[in-house]
Each structure stands twice: as structure tokens, then as C-alpha cells.
Amino acid sequence: MNHPRPGLSKLHLDPTVCDAHGFCAEALPELISLDEWEFPVFISGGLTVEVPHELIGEAKRAVSACPVLALRLSKED
């Protein structure tokens, strides 16, 4: 288990909600790509990805772009 560094934000995907709209990958291509069925693939693998400070704005846009609210941004402290 990785221990996140203090103050680092993380993006979480609920795969049971995701319906492959793909808007998240448009908003945050640095961290999210799409598989051949257009479901998101985090650069880190898995269902959680650490978001560097400089990409927080894009990550927020990815969260709000999702029509089914499958993404969540959390702040670890």
C-alpha cells in the first residue's frame, strides 16, 4: 500500500458507475487514457491516481465532466 505524501490530491474512479463516456480523458490526458472500449485507464494502473499540483485544475474539470459522477477528487492530509 502506498502512503500518499501529505497534501497530495488523488483521483478515484468508481468502476461500477463509469459508463465509458470518456470526457475525463479529454480533460486530463496526462493521467487518463481510454481502453479500446473507451473506459478510462489511469497512468498508474488501478482505480486511484495521484494528481500533481499543476494538474489540479484539469482534475477538477475531469470530475465535473463526468455525466455519471464516477470520479472523485480527494485531498489526503
Binding site: D14, T16, D35, G45, G46, L47
Partner: protein, 443 residues
């Protein structure tokens, strides 16, 4: 020769077969009456928790998680405390769904020593202060009339009634969060991120334990933790049930001390019926292992993992050399795709696609590029589902491709070594669920 001590399935001294202990009097004549078990009070588990902790018992449903630690969490984790302080009571669910088609240990246990399981449920329920207890077997199970009769014999004896629940037989319905979901809301789908031991059935801290684990608890309540740990290996002690199948003389369930040589287990089943080209460990969510690697190891979580396998719920299945491993794997992969709840992309689209890729390879129509693409797809399926169904199926497939790599290469070159046209791996009758296909018709 390792000495074998059947505990859960004591043999008839004359026939050597497991005794039928369905009647309460026969059960108590063999095991003695169940001792009283202290009930949890004021946010503290009952005293049996210390014996379970000392026993080193680990869950036999597949995860081998330390049982005492899970029970502590149901009563004492921060989230559980919060739920309990708002007046919610804990719940016990005994999992005897036995979703793995090659497993028969829970059915064997419940049809021979059912009272041991019920007593284990009672002991666990008292220890965590549960006010409800359930025993889950799959819908249509032949165990249902047996257990109705067993539970009727116990009315007035048990501290709380045990309710028999019968979720659908689908593979993924036996997953811990799916079972909890079913008990609460009648939906047998896995819940992403769920922690039933903190917030389970209807928000109540819920202890889900495999039937065999609970039967061991019933004996720990009688004999103590040190007795339990006197058999087996120190880091996963006790005896354990193994469902043995495939190319062995007698299919069935044997009880062995953990750490027993795999060859001893096979010998107890009459030995191999011919050349074995590989072993499936842990079932359709498990892993294939080469014959040499498995036959030189012992049956406990660590050594089996070091051999490349997974002990899981105790499945040991031998593939005879007359069968085509690719056809076997392709067929099971397609079945597993249909057994998903269809909630996440990796299951809905990934599994049917890799099953098709396998069918192409098995049919000697696949190229090296097809094999490469299959491996890439398998890597992308893992760790992206809401439960471990896609991961387990991907492991079943990828370890199979690895173990049978020579036969895979043979197929790519247009050949197949199999001499049998019968399938060997079991698929439950009447459960050939049509696979939901990628595309608009499914969306």
C-alpha cells in the same frame, strides 16, 4: 507418511467414509455438546476471541485472512464503533455459496457435519454480539432440505435463530460484498469499496465467514486455540478441506493438515489416472501450475504461492494430458464472462473479448500477434474492476497461457496435441448464461 487428523469430517472406523452427523444426537455423541460461549459486552468481543486469536485460524473461503482480526474489526474498528454506538447490532453471514464449480468442500461439510457449522455461527455471533445470523447457500442447492431439517432440530437450543438465505447461483454472488448486499437489499451484486466488517448489511458491521472457517471455530470453542494450532504449519495452522478433481481416481473432498505434501493429497484420492499436464489451484479465480512445481510442494498458502499457484478455497484439480488446455481455458473464460454482474468495463467488455481471443487460439486460427494482443488485454483487465472477478479470471487465463506455453505455440503453428474431445473442467448444468457482448445491444 504425514499423519492425518480429520477433525471436521471424522471417518467411520469401518468404512473409512465421512460419518453422517446430520442428527444432533449423532453429532453430540461424536463431538460432545457445544460449550457456552460468552457474549460480547460494552464494545468488547466475547472471550472466545482470545482462543481464536491463539489458534491462528485463517479464513478458508479463499483469502486466508486471520479470522480473529476480522472479528475484532467488526466490533472494534472506528467505523464499526460508530455504527454500534448508533444502536446497530452486528450480523454474521456464513458463506456456503461455493461459487467455484470445482469446489465441493462446503457442500460435503454441510451434508456430513452441519451442526458444526451452525455451532460455529452461534459461537462467532455470541463473540461479536450479533443479533442476526444467516447461512447462505445458492438458490436451488440440494443442501436446502438438509439444512431446513438441521435447523428445525436446533430450535430452542440456539441463542439466535440462523436464517437460511439462497442468493442466485451466479459465481460473483458469493463475493463477500455481494452476499452482504443480497442479505440487506436483495441484490446479489458486488459493491465497490465496500467494507462489510465496518458497514455491511443495512449499514451494520457484518462478519462474513466461510462455512469451513466457522466449523473450525466450533471446535476451537471446545478444545481451545492451542489444540487447533497443534496441526498444520505455524503461519496457517489447522486442518483444511481440499476439493480434489480432474485426472485422479476418486474425486472428492479430503481433510488434511496444512503443509501436507501435495503428493499425499493425490494419493488419498487414489493417485493420478494418467499423465497430468498441469494443475489448477484455487479454481476459476485461481492459477494454473506446472505438474513438476506443484507435485514437489506442500499444501499451504505460502508454498503454493511460491509454486505459482493460489490455495484459495482449497481446490486442487489435475488436467490430464489427453485434453486441450486452450479449449478448456477458453470455455471456462467464456463462462466466467457470463457469471459477472456486468457492472464494470473490464468484466462487460474485457472478459468476453479475451474469451473470444482464446477461442480463436484454441481453434488454431490465432497468430503470434493475436497472442500478443491477448496478453495486452489481460494486463489491462487487472485492478480495474469493482471486485476481483476480472482479476481472478485474468489470472486463471494468464497462468494457463504460461503453464501450457508449449501447447499454445503448437496451436499458433496450427496443431493441437489433445486426443480427447470431451471437456474436463466442470461447468454447472443449466448455467450457460449468454455472454453480454460489447456493443450497442448491451449498452
Amino acid at each position: 507418511m504425514t499423519s492425518i487428523t480429520p477433525r471436521l469430517l471424522p471417518p467411520d472406523p469401518v468404512t473409512g467414509r465421512a460419518l453422517d452427523l446430520r442428527s444432533l444426537s449423532a453429532h453430540e455423541a461424536h463431538f460432545g455438546p457445544a460449550p457456552g460461549v460468552a457474549v460480547a459486552t460494552k464494545g468488547r468481543p466475547g472471550s472466545l476471541i482470545d482462543e481464536i486469536s491463539a489458534s491462528g485460524l485463517r479464513g478458508r473461503g479463499g483469502g486466508w485472512f486471520p479470522t480473529a482480526r476480522k472479528m475484532h474489526a467488526v466490533v472494534e474498528s472506528a467505523a464499526a464503533r460508530k455504527a454500534l454506538s448508533s444502536g446497530r447490532k452486528t450480523v454474521v453471514i456464513a458463506n456456503a455459496m461455493e461459487g467455484e464449480p470445482a469446489s465441493s468442500k462446503d457442500a460435503t461439510l454441510l451434508s456430513h457435519s452441519p451442526h458444526l457449522v451452525i455451532e460455529g455461527i452461534q459461537a462467532a455471533a455470541a463473540t461479536i454480539g450479533a443479533s442476526n445470523a444467516y447461512l447462505a447457500v445458492h438458490r436451488g442447492s440440494p443442501l436446502i432440505p438438509i439444512l431446513d431439517e438441521v435447523l428445525a432440530q436446533r430450535s430452542g437450543i440456539d441463542r439466535i435463530p440462523v436464517e437460511l438465505i439462497t442468493p442466485p447461483a451466479r459465481y460473483v454472488a458469493s463475493e463477500e460484498s455481494a452476499l452482504t448486499h443480497w442479505a440487506g437489499d436483495g441484490e446479489a451484486t458486488p459493491v465497490y469499496g465496500a467494507r462489510p466488517f465496518q458497514r455491511g448489511m443495512n449499514g451494520r458491521p457484518t462478519l462474513v465467514q466461510n462455512a469451513e472457517t466457522l466449523a473450525h471455530i466450533a471446535l476451537i470453542a471446545r478444545n481451545g486455540g492451542a489444540w487447533f494450532a497443534s496441526a498444520g504449519v505455524p503461519d496457517a495452522p489447522g486442518t483444511t478441506l481440499v476439493s480434489v478433481g480432474g485426472a485422479v481416481a476418486q474425486h472428492g473432498v479430503v481433510e488434511v493438515a496444512t503443509g501436507s505434501p501435495v503428493t499425499d493429497i493425490l494419493n488419498r484420492c487414489g493417485g493420478a489416472t494418467g499423465a497430468i499436464q498441469g494443475f489448477l489451484t484455487g479454481g476459476y479465480g485461481g492459477a494454473w501450475v506446472s505438474t513438476t512445481a506443484l507435485q514437489t510442494t506442500t499444501w499451504a498458502p505460502d508454498p503454493v504461492r511460491e509454486a505459482g499457484g493460489v490455495i484459495g478455497a482449497g481446490i486442487l484439480w489435475a488436467l490430464g494430458s489427453q485434453h486441450c488446455p486452450l479449449e478448456e481455458i477458453a470455455r471456462v473464460a467464456m463462462w466466467m464472462a457470463g457469471e459477472s454482474a456486468g457492472q464494470c468495463g473490464p468484466c462487460r467488455f474485457g472478459l468476453p473479448t479475451v474469451a473470444d481471443d482464446l477461442a480463436t487460439l484454441a481453434g488454431r486460427q490465432g497468430s503470434t500477434q493475436d497472442l500478443h494482443r491477448l496478453n495486452e488485454r489481460l494486463a489491462l483487465i487487472v485492478n480495474r474492476g469493482g471486485c476481483k472477478h476480472p482479476d481472478g479470471t485474468a489470472r486463471f487465463i494468464s497462468t494457463g497461457i504460461h503453464t501450457f506455453h508449449a501447447e499454445v505455440a503448437h496451436h499458433v503453428n496450427g496443431h493441437c496435441s489433445a486426443s480427447s474431445n470431451h471437456f474436463a473442467l466442470p461447468i454447472p448444468a443449466g448455467r450457460a448464461v449468454p455472454v453480454k457482448r460489447a456493443g450497442k445491444d448491451f449498452r
